[in-house]
């Protein structure tokens, strides 16, 4: 019988095991050793591993990233945590100009085994500056690896892989996955970076997604199944290096593609995934691929607006049905009064 734990617990366990097994692992970030422990993901780690290894920082996102970069090229394997990717925007210089190019520009002599966890999310009026999803930025930068695990299992395994990887890895975690449970082995294990996973096999249409969008894709697949459409859901798990083969293989099989992402669609990661299919499987494509992502609008705060801003599973299902050209009746399960919380039990703020 496998144990079920929540996504945030899986992240915490991954960090605890990394701290336990490697003295050079440290975890740093605003609120990391604090009482709420970054939404529980670092809670009480400081009790077991001490304030030298699990520690807070000044609100200095730029230099603290550079600091850990320097630590990482001198024997450490640091994990940095940003409660919101919007704060990490201040650290683009050390991440992008430096860490990403660290190994390359010094002719292979330097390494930056740095893992940066960045939380993205939506809802409860996070608004324009607390809910961006910038995976496309990191994916565009050669030298970075970008992971977006969807399940608790992968959250643990991929974070462990990230910490052990000698490249800088950006881990993008969607808050609305934090409360989702899944089977997670207790021992330490790695989920490989760079391999997508078929979450649900199907033959009529491929839905490629990542992170919270993969959950939506699964729900969409259920709605589609009810309407007699057999969708395959490919969970990317890693954005770069992108697993083009898996995308191409699935599209070759189904001939149809929908891409779902939690970020802005325009110039976003979904565009690259469409290209991967078009470049690798154009002869198999029976209809034009479709993308589901955010419209090109800053995030509105009011729940009355964010309700129309965020796509839901039904929108993915509709897009998938449209690639088949068939008119089908899709039914969205009843939702609560509010669309701005992951589930009705949720109470703000966060």
């Amino acid at each position: 019988m496998t144990r079920e734990i929540k996504y945030y617990e899986a992240l915490r366990e991954a960090q605890a095991q990394c701290l336990e097994s490697d003295r050079d692992v440290v975890v740093m970030g605003l609120g990391v050793p604090g009482p709420t422990g970054v939404f529980g993901t670092t809670k009480n780690l400081v009790d077991d591993y001490g304030p030298d290894r699990v520690f807070d920082m000044p609100s200095s996102e730029n230099a603290m990233t550079g600091m850990l970069l320097g630590a990482s090229s001198n024997g450490m394997r640091p994990i940095m945590v940003h409660m919101r990717v919007d704060f990490a925007v201040l650290s683009m210089e050390p991440l992008v100009n430096q860490a990403a190019k660290w190994h390359y520009m010094y002719g292979g002599k330097m390494r930056a085994p740095l893992t940066v966890r960045m939380i993205i999310g939506q809802g409860w009026g996070q608004g324009p500056q607390h809910s961006q999803a910038l995976q496309a930025w990191f994916a565009h930068i050669p030298g970075l690896k970008v992971i977006m695990p969807t399940t608790a299992h992968d959250a643990k395994g991929m974070l462990i892989s990230a910490v052990r990887d000698d490249a800088p890895v950006i881990s993008i975690e969607h808050r609305w996955l934090y409360g989702v449970s899944g089977a997670v082995p207790e021992e330490m294990y790695e989920t490989p970076i760079g391999k997508a996973r078929i979450m649900r096999p199907g033959k009529d249409v491929t839905i490629v997604a990542a992170s919270y969008a993969s959950l939506l894709a699964l729900r969409a697949a259920e709605m589609l199944a009810d309407a007699g459409i057999d969708a395959e859901v490919l969970d990317l798990r890693t954005i770069t290096p992108l697993d083009r083969e898996s995308i191409v293989a699935s599209v070759r099989k189904t001939g149809r593609l929908v891409v779902a992402d939690t970020g802005t669609a325009e110039f976003g990661i979904s565009a690259e995934i469409v290209c991967a299919a078009v470049e690798g499987a154009s002869e198999s494509l029976k209809s034009a691929p479709r993308r589901i992502g955010l419209p090109s609008v800053p995030t509105p705060t009011s729940p009355a607006l964010s309700e129309h801003f965020y796509p839901r599973a039904i929108h993915i299902a509709e897009a998938a049905a449209a690639t088949l050209g068939t008119k089908v009746q899709l039914t969205e399960p009843a939702t609560g009064k509010w669309h701005d919380v992951p589930d009705p039990s949720f109470t703000g703020p966060y």
Binding site: L30, G31, G34, P35, T36, D56, M57, P58, S59, S60, E61, N62, A63, D86, F87, L90, W124, G125, Q126, G127, P128, Q129, H130, P295, S296, V297, P298, P300, T301, S302, P303, A304, L305, H308, F309, W338, D340, T347, G348, P349, Y350
Partner: protein, 334 residues
């Protein structure tokens, strides 16, 4: 008059000003309490950073500001907005995400604005509005417009490089800015000691950036008032920027309406000791004592305020949400 002299002396404001200072602090306090009381209804669906305990700095500073003066704030902005004369019902509607909100519901508590009142903006990225306010001051000078810019921020913001960059530019260019740091000891749950050099105050960061700096009791509205008078007048008269640091304390949790001493990062005793230094109640007692106000005046203030606040909440709760089309408006200016 140097501010030291002002503090050293016991220069006090006129009675009407004392009443106004008290009224303004009380108003912020009661509005915040109303948010706290109703937040659990889950109708204010955005993060709120409550400023109870920190009412004195914006009140004492705003007393010297004119309508054309501009104020910038960060995440804990309600008090800054209200003290500058920001439209209270529009703020409440904004927190409720309604169409009548000061930002049409698009911003929420973290993005207040009232241009008519000279409250230019608040935003929840640490230190981010500081340089914006400096640019406002620069534009004012360049266009020959007479205004003083006040920029509020917390102790945590001063750890951001952008703060130092903005201070340096303001100092080099002797811009008409008053930088106001509300040092409440904490950045979320982290004490100052873990973040900044020991035995130092934020005030230290004025001179290296080419400006004077002072610190004072941020729970004593008259001390704030005296320091701000010096800094605002200096800015208005071309004397350049000043950094003011006010020592104060946040009563509620960092974000949200609750008491958070159960978290353990600060003790209930610490909180109680600061509550004993309540900027509102102590000032009330002082004004009663020195005869500036009496119970009847206090009662009438409370009752006026109560009605105003009830009306604002009722309007906000009953007001319409923005339509779906509003989502796509304002991406680019027309």
């Amino acid at each position: 008059m140097t501010p030291e002299a002002a503090i050293g002396g016991n220069a006090r404001p006129e009675v009407e000003i004392r009443q106004e200072l008290y009224r303004s602090m009380l108003r912020t306090r009661r509005v915040e309490e109303a948010i706290v009381d109703r937040y659990a209804e889950q109708e204010m669906r955005c993060p709120v950073h409550i400023c109870i305990g920190q009412e004195a700095p914006p009140t004492g500073v705003s007393a010297h500001l004119q309508k054309q003066d501009h104020v910038y704030s960060a995440h804990r902005s309600h008090g800054h907005y209200l003290a500058k004369g920001g439209d209270m019902p529009a703020m409440i509607a904004e927190i409720y995400g309604k169409a009548d909100g000061c930002a049409v519901g698009k911003g929420g508590s973290q993005h207040l604005i009232d241009l008519d009142a000279g409250f230019i903006c608040s935003a929840p990225i640490l230190a981010s509005t500081i340089s914006v306010g400096v640019g406002d001051a620069w534009a004012a000078r360049r266009r020959g417009e007479d205004r003083v810019i006040v920029i509020y921020f917390g102790d945590g913001s001063t750890e951001e490089g952008a703060f130092h960059e903005a201070m340096n530019f303001a100092g080099v260019n002797k811009l008409p800015v008053v930088f106001v740091c509300e040092n409440n000891l904490y950045s979320v749950h982290t004490l100052l000691e873990a973040r900044q050099p020991e035995n130092q105050t934020v005030r230290r960061l004025g001179p290296p950036n080419g400006m004077e700096s002072f610190d004072g009791d941020g729970n004593d509205v008259e001390e704030v008032w005296r320091l701000a008078e010096y800094a605002v007048n200096k800015a208005r008269n071309g004397g350049g920027p000043t950094l003011l640091e006010f020592h104060t304390y946040r009563w509620m949790e960092h974000c949200g309406p609750l008491d958070d001493t159960h978290l353990g990062y600060r003790s209930a005793e610490e909180l109680e000791s600061w509550k004993a230094r309540c900027p509102v109640d102590n000032y009330r007692d002082r004004l009663i004592e020195d005869g500036s106000v009496d119970q009847a005046w206090l009662d009438s203030e409370e009752s006026t305020l109560h009605k105003e606040i009830e009306a604002a909440f009722t309007a906000a709760q009953n007001g319409p949400f923005p339509n779906a089309e509003e989502l796509f408006r304002h991406v680019y200016p027309e």
